[in-house]
């Protein structure tokens, strides 16, 4: 069986390696992808149309906003599925008791380091979210970092003390609120007479903005929605995975 698997892997691998020669070279200006009118339009016009210097965020949050909306929904659905599989009904749970005091004496160095580190991580995560349309980053990356700061709290101390900061119910509400913010911005565009997630029309209700600035600002709003969902879903997944859904001890 192992031999058969090895043969299959070797054949597939060599077939894949054979086709590598047909791929365009890295950064080739004459490759089909670089020559297509769509990518030329993005490269030339994104800054004029949206005033967003980071092309990647402009494409993700504006031109292909529908795609990113449902990526966020996929993250939310994944979190809900994990809670549905691992989670216990809240009646069966004992009241959450924090044992943080015990851990303070056990791992003073870890506890103190985390106390210093977590605010910096959260501040950097907020910076990544807010600055996502000017530099690399955005809702997904910043949201994961924000969730990771809570996970660090749970790893360093214990899960109940992290759940006291961000309880399961609150995290679930935040996760749904993120998708609602994103879809809500799209619906507002719809109500103002434009297409779903066509942000330009929001300049009518945002004070002192042109159509171009409105697209940039609503990209920020959309990123905040994504960050809400991703951060709380990451923490929820960790909380359920590490405690087998009991939300008691964790690792």
């Amino acid at each position: 069986m192992k031999l058969l698997g090895l043969i299959a892997v070797l054949i597939t691998g060599s077939l894949l390696l054979l086709t590598v020669g047909d791929l365009p070279a890295w950064g080739d200006p004459n490759s089909p992808a670089s020559k297509s009118p769509i990518s030329t339009h993005f490269i030339k016009e994104t800054l004029n149309e949206t005033s967003v210097p980071n092309l990647v965020t402009a494409v993700l949050a504006d031109y292909r906003g529908f795609d990113t909306l449902f990526e966020t929904v996929v993250v939310l659905t994944g979190g809900i599925a994990i809670i549905a599989i691992l989670g216990r009904p809240s009646r069966a749970r004992k009241p959450i008791l924090s044992t943080a005091k015990k851990d303070e004496s056990e791992g003073l160095i870890i506890y103190t380091t985390c106390r210093i580190l977590i605010p910096i991580i959260q501040l950097f995560a907020l910076y990544v979210i807010m600055h996502g349309h000017h530099s690399p980053g955005g809702g997904f990356q910043g949201g994961v970092m924000l969730g990771a700061s809570f996970i660090l709290l749970a790893v360093a101390g214990d899960l109940p003390s992290a759940l006291q900061r961000l309880s399961e119910q609150r995290a679930l509400i935040l996760a749904c609120a993120g998708v609602l913010i994103y879809a809500g911005i799209g619906v507002i565009c719809l109500l103002l007479g434009n297409n779903f997630l066509d942000y330009g029309v929001l300049s009518r209700i945002l004070p002192a903005t042109t159509i171009v600035a409105a697209r940039s600002h609503s990209m920020l709003g959309v990123e905040i929605g994504v960050a809400f969902t991703v951060a709380s879903v990451m923490f929820l997944i960790y909380a359920h995975l590490s405690s087998q859904g009991k939300l008691q001890d964790g690792l």
């Binding site: 890295w26 980053g137 955005g138 997904f140 990356q141 994961v144 990451m234 995975l241």
Partner: protein, 81 residues
Amino acid sequence: MIWQFDLIILIFLVVTAVIALRTKDLLGASMIFGIYSFLICLLWAEMGAVDVAFTEATVGAGVSTVFLVATVFNTKRKASD
């Protein structure tokens, strides 16, 4: 693109991939999987795809390693085959 840098990363990628598959200790395998993610993140950053590299560093090397470790702690530490 610096080909020497690429070559070193690609060699390490293959080595970490093989080790992650061969290791019987699942905790060690998930740690090495985190290293694999981080090497891919370096490769992307070096090719200029900074956004993708950022996502790989946070999701791949960061959170998914933690998820794997959490799962290993709640199941078995040794692989059966």
